[in-house]
């Protein structure tokens, strides 16, 4: 236990005034050499882990990202089963499309909301002061959002299979690959554009308008691959879709990591 703070008598102690000489005031302003920003990969990943853990803890407190968003996704599925024909010859395709629509809207809702919260209280600014390369802060955020979206999907997919009367069988590997790669690209573009969206007039409501056009190829590939998986197709027969997803993911993540430090500056 530390000793209580004693309060110095500030009214009578004269303050020391440090003085700068003219040479320093008017001198050159080349920045000191010191190399580029922070601590190396280990420190960065550690920081990313702290940020992700913080998001997980927040989620355990509020249940917004998985609970409320998951409910929203579920309702999209349920409404779709009322609105669209189920059990027909096309049911794999319809199920795939419905699933990805639900994932799209639900994940963008969640990501937009968490980014807005981060900005509202100046928390993002406080994080930016940390002695860590800013890209790792983005990675931490991305990791947490991925976990939340995957958690929602794990609940969503069984419900989907049930409501739409679709078996999975031999297409499981393809289904998992499509879900994994598609979610990565979707969450990646969501997190990237969320940083931009919260700084606009419409704030996070603009997020879908920014993500959806760019994410069209991702949606096409994910839905096609998922639809194929639900008819029992194999990974081998659908490599082109998976390859496209890998390409899209790489592009989005590269741009996101490069642009994030610039985007968070005022």
């Amino acid at each position: 236990m530390t000793t209580p703070v004693t309060m110095p008598d500030v009214t009578t102690t004269p303050a020391r005034i440090p003085v700068l000489d003219q040479a320093t005031i008017a001198g050159p302003v080349h920045p000191r050499p010191g190399g580029r920003v922070p601590g190396g990969v280990r420190a960065g990943l550690r920081a990313a882990g702290l940020v992700a853990a913080k998001d997980l803890r927040l989620e355990s407190r509020t249940h917004d990202a998985v609970g409320t968003v998951g409910l929203f996704a579920l309702l999209i599925l349920v409404t779709a089963s009322f609105a669209l024909p189920t059990g027909g010859p096309d049911r794999a395709g319809i199920a795939a499309g419905t699933l990805w629509m639900a994932i799209l809207f639900a994940s963008l809702l969640g990501i937009g909301r968490t980014q807005a919260l981060e900005s509202e209280e100046g928390c993002l600014d406080a994080l930016l002061l940390a002695p860590v390369a800013r890209e790792y802060l983005f990675l931490g955020k991305l990791a947490a959002s991925l976990l939340f979206t995957v958690a929602v999907e794990m609940a969503l997919v069984p419900v989907l299979l049930l409501l739409m009367q679709v078996p999975v069988g031999s297409g499981l590997a393809l289904l998992l690959a499509a879900l994994g790669l598609g979610t990565l690209g979707l969450v990646g573009s969501g997190c990237l554009f969320a940083v931009i969206a919260v700084r606009t007039r419409m704030r996070q409501a603009l997020l879908p308008a920014l993500v959806m056009p760019v994410a069209v190829p991702l949606m096409i590939a994910s839905v096609q691959a998922t639809g194929a998986a639900l008819t029992g197709a194999t990974v081998g027969a659908n490599m082109h879709w998976l390859a496209l997803l890998v390409g899209f993911d790489a592009m989005v993540l590269l741009v996101a990591v490069l642009a994030f430090p610039q985007l968070v500056e005022e």
């Binding site: 703070v5 309060m7 303050a15 005034i17 000489d21 000191r32 920003v37 407190r61």
Partner: protein
């Protein structure tokens, strides 16, 4: 410039606009290490902008900003971990408790083990420690925010209206804490509307008007100590 003679904060011809509003106009400011600068001026005169630029959260449209010789935006960890900034926002996650917030920032800024308890003690945060920030009163939240900003023992301290919402006891605690930090060799720049809490501690008064320096005086009751 000899390596140990860099000014703590240097603004050279800094201009910054936010949309149509010009916050700073070719501002020149040089703050020696170890000073306590009270930054005053009416609303919208650029005080918050000065602090954000020094903290590396914004980029000037023109001119240079140097903190201990480095550009705060691209500085190595040697600098980044030494700057503490409190803006208008608290920087605290509303749904986490005070302790959880402080522990998070403590780990992120790699503070030593005793830093959080020290800060809790200094700002009397023992009582609200395990309550979510969302539930705290204005003054308590401000004290928690100050704790967050000062947790990692920064030696360049940038505070935007730190006394907002604090009661008399908290004001005294904060002033004492700032005096302690100052005597440990830190440099403090605080944007203030009311100068009375810091009258005995500050070493310089800089008043801004329309994005420029209007008045710049050392503390009149202080003894000038030169090289």
């Amino acid at each position: 410039m000899a390596p140990d003679r860099y000014p703590a904060v240097l603004f050279r011809a800094v201009t910054k606009s936010y949309g149509p509003v010009r916050a700073l106009s070719t501002l020149d400011l040089c703050v020696a290490a170890g000073s306590f600068v009270a930054l005053t001026g009416g609303n919208g005169t650029g005080k918050s902008t000065v602090l954000r630029l020094a903290g590396g959260l914004s980029r000037p449209d023109a001119g240079v900003v140097r903190v201990d010789g480095w550009d705060p935006r691209t500085a190595p960890p040697r600098l980044r971990g030494r700057v503490g900034l409190l803006t208008h926002d608290s920087g605290l996650y509303p749904d986490l408790t005070v302790r959880e917030n402080l522990v998070l920032y403590g780990r992120l800024f790699r503070t030593p083990a005793g830093a959080v308890p020290d800060m809790v003690e200094a700002l009397d945060l023992g009582a609200p420690l395990n309550r979510p920030v969302r539930e705290l009163s204005r003054g308590t939240r401000q004290r928690a925010a100050l704790a967050r900003a000062l947790l990692h023992g920064p030696d360049i301290v940038l505070l935007d209206e730190p006394y907002t919402g604090l009661d008399a006891g908290a004001v005294a605690r904060l002033t004492a804490l700032l005096a302690r930090i100052l005597s440990d060799g830190a440099t403090i720049i605080a944007a203030l509307h009311d100068l009375t809490p810091v009258d005995g501690v500050r070493t310089r008064l800089v008043e801004l008007a329309a994005g420029r320096i209007h008045r710049d005086v050392p503390n009149p009751v202080a003894v000038q100590v030169g090289p």
